[in-house]
Amino acid sequence: MEKLISKYFIPGKTFFLTDYLADGGYKAVRTVFEKYQAKEVIDLVKQSNLRGLGGAGFPCGMKWSFVPQNTGRPVYLVVNADEGEPGTFKDKYIIFHVPHLLLEGIIIAAYANNVHKAYIYIRGEYVEPYEKLKKAVEEAYAKGFLGKNIFGKSYDLDLVIHRGAGAYICGEETGLLESLEGKKGFPRLKPPFPAVVGLFGCPTVINNVETLSYVPYIVNRGAEWFAKLGSDKNGGLRLFSVSGHVKKPGVYELPLGVSLREIIYEHAGGICEDRKLKAVVPGGLSAAIFTADEIDIGMDFDQLRNKGTMAGSGGVIVMDETTCMVKALLATMRFFAHESCGQCSPCREGTGWVHRILERIAKGGGRGKDIETLLDICSFMGGTTICALADGAAMPLRSYPTKFREEFEYHVKEGKCPDLLLMEKQ
């Protein structure tokens, strides 16, 4: 299978401008400027079935088509490089190894939406990738690819790199906008949606790094070609971040719809020390888990949603038979409790409460109705909040004790881990 983005992921190497141009870089921008109207670019991306690869999986072209162009206000483009979803690290690779690919995607997306000012919101912890990105942006300005009259056309585009400061919730679209506007990352009430009322009250396009990075390929090779690479309504390839108990953790560029079994055993080399698989997180920490016998599933947004989980950010975390599911859920819920912004009551109180219950169970203090309580809490954390963080906490929270009920009950009753290997054999 041909590698599109991941061919650039050579350890230690960054494709700066010279290298990128030599590889045929910025051809797509020139094509767009010469041959396409803005609206045609949107149609092209629609036809490609490119989905939002940050986690929501919303069809990219459709998102762009929601932006009203007649409001008298400027349209902004915001690139979500916050990459906070645990288990996900692919955007880091793009920014570090081939930042110009991202810039090219940004320029095309800007043109399609009549955007003249764009921001990249990059998480504050990504220090080295930020340095590479900064250099690439400077190169682009120097070459006339950004700034006034880019590529010799009467089109201006300004780009500002804005560093986050350590808050997962700023990866949520409207939390990001609030943070970019200089406030705490408190997600906004929707409607209105960012496409209509976004940054500084203006129509705003928000896209993930990886989503934008595939756009040049769509322009260069065609929408139909891109769509066919993937599965039905889920076009193209995506970068799966695979980690956990696998022999070869890393980023794997594979078609939307690839089998999860194939990802784990063929590409990531199988389980460490050839142990048995126990559970998998299929799409970032917010996704409901699969057990070992559920991995013959196509990894695309629609198939996974139909199975009660999500494709999310493509973060695959593999857990083998030595894993204590209670401790794994504890680490998960500790994350959400730590990252809840605190704005609305079900998430703020629910994540903290659930974390404390699990801590007590993990330390051996479990009590009779704990599991029922946990399951009841997650029924009302999901679907009642301002943003999806609570839904993202509720989904794993429900799936762990549901799929590993015995193990959880043992923990609560006996106050410790069962002999895990023994349990597997039963």
């Binding site: 109180e349 903290g352 409460w353 219950i357 009642t384 301002i386």
Partner: protein
Amino acid sequence: MPRLTIDGKAIEVPKGTRVIEAAKKLETDIPYYCYHPGLSIAGNCRMCLVEVEKMPKLQIACHMEAMDGMVVRTNTEKVLKTRQHILEFLLVNHPLDCTVCDQAGECWLQDYYMKHGLYDSRVNENKVKKPKAVSLGPTVMLDAERCILCSRCVRFTDEISKTSELGIVNRGDHGEITVFPGKELKNPYSGNVVDICPVGALTDKDFRFKMRVWYLKSGDSICTGCARGCNIQVQYNLDRPHHTKGDRVMRIKPRFNENVNKWWICDEGRYGYKFHDYNRILMPLKRVLGKVEELTWHKILPEVAHGLTSAKNKFGVFLSSQLSNEELFLAKNLFKDKLKIENVFLVPGSPPGFQDDFLIRADKNPNSKGAEMLGFATEDKEIHAFLADCEKGLMKGIVVFGSDILTGLKEKKVLQAVQKLEWSVFIGSNHNLMSEYASFVLPSATFIEKDGTFTNFEGRVQKFEKILEPLGEAEPEWRILVTLARELGIHFHFDRTEEIFKALVLNVDFFKGMTYEKLGTGGSDIRSMAAPTIPALEQDANIL
């Protein structure tokens, strides 16, 4: 206009109306904490989640715009169960402070628990600890553990007082209300945050531990602190005098008036109530050569009447813009029309002060406009001339209503002038310098101890009602005037202020057509007058 259905009842509302507002019009009860009609929408408490047909998730009624054909259900099992769980979430870290918390009895957590909760707690964990009994400023105390982070107080200081002292720091369930270290919550409207705090997180320092709210009774009145006449509720205690050293008034709360003060009052009006119970003149007093004698009304009024009669028209009357329309009208009738006294003056009861572009007016008197409409004006030259005459010995006496003219008038030698007179009468509720010199001191009621009307600076006539009995032997000024008049052989057949008002309406153009009933709780309609200062809207009975 969109037409929607809530729990089977249909209603048409203006475009842009939120479902929660539409529900209120139908008198459907949707519980909420963070929503406040005077503040921006926060949507964070999630208490107002309701079912909307064709939408898979519950929606918050405070944010959801009412659309044509929308079908809303507020009492399905899903909604009720969700409400119960939201309440449970809010109580997870809430401290069990009810026994020591001032909010008990008017706490929305208590109230909603009884209505929408009624579950057994299943929290077996430690609660998050936060600072307690933190002084935020001169008026407000914070207990951060009790706070449900609804952000009403933060939005208030941002949007209403526009002083931005408050914020929420930290993330998640460690969130706390706070001021910047070293700064204070100190602005002319700081007390309002206590009103809008639904729980005992923000409490009034002035009211702290004073009285349990279920012992309080309430009466409606008008603040007399300035010419705006904010509508207030006077909350008092008569059942537990041993708890409060006999103080009756416990606190003042704002009363909603769409056109005058909306939901708010200033701190001066809120905390300036001590004079109703302190430093009161309780008995009629007669002062001869420095010796003070307490007399009954029965004994003192003939002496006062004798003084007035023997002075013929050689005395002055100082009325104040603190007096009600009825009292000013009656006084004018008695002194100017009947007794033909020329020297009837109006003085401001309190000197002018600070004014802002919100509620506070520079004129610190409630009825200056009323006095003006009744034909009074403050005539410095005439007052000066009168006092000069007093000093020359040409005048015999002076009657002063309420104001401390010894301190208040710009004249320097007022005391000397007053001491040259044969007699002086001070009619007022609280002791001041004037009451220390007057030969006759007649105790009057404060405005919560009588009925009447004031006219605010915009020309709005507002009613205030008797809430408490006057202390000691005090009587309302209007009754003092009626009984004094009787001593002088003049018979006013007035038993109630409403009767005086009826006479006033017939005689003074400005008040044409008004009745107590029409004044209602919101005051007169001033839309026909030029340039009302707050845009007049529909006078809904819109209380929150």
